[in-house]
């Protein structure tokens, strides 16, 4: 087989592959930069929790209007924001810290979601919600993904400096400005927004992978924040493209493969990453003079 047939033909020949690629790229340019900030803020597991937390909203949207993008997105957003804002409020006003209150909120939300789905749906519906369908993106979903990516990148550009300051020294930012709390909420809202978008394509279980794996990998490769963000997005795009190509030829489900490829890139960075990978840490080379 010629290289062209393997790497390019699937996308020129099949519209559903082109759509899948467009969707994956949209997810990859917005999610991983958010993942970088989640990692730097030590909130890596927050993405996972939020991914589960959106479930009841999505389920309610689905049962209200069937498999259509609008209601499911709105439902997921509402559930995610409720959990994010609710757990944040509990953390600020009670003795429970952010991690404990988030765990409590998302577990309730997840249980509620599974209950709602079992009330009405068949197993196929559940599979769709859990694992998504990147090969079946319709126009509405594609537009949604593109819109989410655009909103995310614009918001990140707008809030970049306060977000960085809030992450590196929130105490200092609070002493000079009141913007910190708002930045935190906007950031969490963006995370929820991206998870809601990603679950349409990859499912709730894998949506977080696209966000966190490229980010964790980039953290191992560079110490420069801008480079980290660019690298994370680039790896997301690469994993999306390669995952689609392999799934096309091997006849395997594309969502898990995209995530697996992001995982493979992460494992490579884990071993070879020059900014704190295993090789670098165990064989750093001989020490310098001064």
């Amino acid at each position: 087989m010629a290289l062209h047939e393997i790497l390019i033909a699937p996308f020129t020949e099949f519209a559903f592959m082109r759509r899948a690629l467009a969707g994956a790229v949209a997810l990859a340019v917005a999610g991983p930069p958010l993942g970088v900030f989640l990692i730097l803020r030590r909130m890596s597991l927050t993405g996972d929790a939020m991914g589960h937390a959106i479930l009841p909203g999505v389920a309610i949207g689905y049962f209200a209007a069937g498999l259509s993008v609008g209601p499911m997105t709105i439902g997921g957003l509402a559930a995610g924001l409720l959990v994010a804002v609710g757990s944040g409020a509990v953390a600020r006003t009670t003795i429970l810290r952010e991690d404990a209150s988030l765990a409590a909120f998302y577990l309730i939300s997840l249980a509620l979601g599974v209950t709602i789905i079992s009330l009405r749906g068949s197993n196929i519906d559940l599979l769709h919600v859990l694992f998504g369908s990147v090969l079946a993106l319709d126009d509405a979903t594609l537009i949604l993904l593109a819109a989410i990516a655009s909103i995310t990148l614009a918001a990140l550009a707008l809030f970049y400096r306060p977000l960085v300051l809030e992450t590196v020294d929130s105490q200092f930012l609070a002493s000079v400005s009141k913007i910190g709390g708002g930045v935190q909420i906007v950031f969490l809202a963006l995370v929820v927004l991206n998870l809601v978008g990603a679950f349409q394509a990859l499912g709730t279980l894998l949506a977080v992978g696209m966000m966190m794996l490229p980010a964790a990998s980039a953290r191992l490769i560079t110490r420069d924040l801008s480079a980290m963000i660019l690298l994370a997005a680039a790896q997301g795009v690469l994993a999306g493209y390669a995952g689609l190509v392999i799934s096309f030829h091997a006849g395997l489900p594309s969502g898990p493969l995209i995530t697996l490829l992001a995982g493979l890139l992460y494992l490579l960075a884990l071993v070879f990453g020059p900014a704190g990978g295993l090789l670098r840490n165990f064989w750093p080379g001989r020490h310098l003079e001064g």
């Binding site: 730097l40 809030f159 992450t167 590196v168 020294d169 200092f172 002493s175 420069d224």
Partner: protein
Amino acid sequence: MNETAIRFDNVTLGYDRHPAVHHLNGDVERGALLAICGPNGAGKSTLLKGIAGSLAPLSGVIALPGLNPRTIAYLPQASEIDKNFPANVFDIVAMGLWKRCGSFGGLTRSDIAAISTAIGAVGLEGFEARPIATLSGGQLQRMLFARLLMQNASLILLDEPFTAIDSRTVSDLLAVVAGWHEEKRTVLAVSHDLDLVRAHFPQTLLLAREEIAKGKTSVVLTAENLLKARAMVEAFDKDAHECARAA
């Protein structure tokens, strides 16, 4: 010159209704260089938090006449700066310009020069590009002082800025403080080092939950006053009644 920078009007600050600073009154003059001394648990840090506005008084008023509360620079006792964040010394010092630059303002050439000057003034020349993860405790404190310099604040609050750093760093940072004093900025610093306070701070507030003495350092830091401060009961009384003194 005897304008008031800070006025305490029957201020009580505390946690969970228990007072940590109890019924404090009096003024701090503009341009004062005031040390705040007292035993552990005397309410020194709490007082600074109250002045900085991050802790609301349980009762009473802390007034900052003629001062924009946003022009306060506050160095907490334990900075919560994330040392693992991929930032370098220059970035952190530049954060001091937030008030002027905000979210979008760029650094002008004179800003960059000023940042370099501030980094030099605290003795960190050549450290501009160093990742903050590689700084020692003393170097970190120098960097935070450089950021305070950039904040160009008229009121500067320092919570135990000279603890756990070597004598050369202390004297470098004291020179920065002396510079602020010359520029007529109001500086309040918590310190446990009474010799340092006697040598470098003209005025002292001796605190033991309540004010023990305030005024000229040599008059305040007497053996008698220090003994009185040490007699303070540190623990909260869990069965305490509501304070009967006029609110």
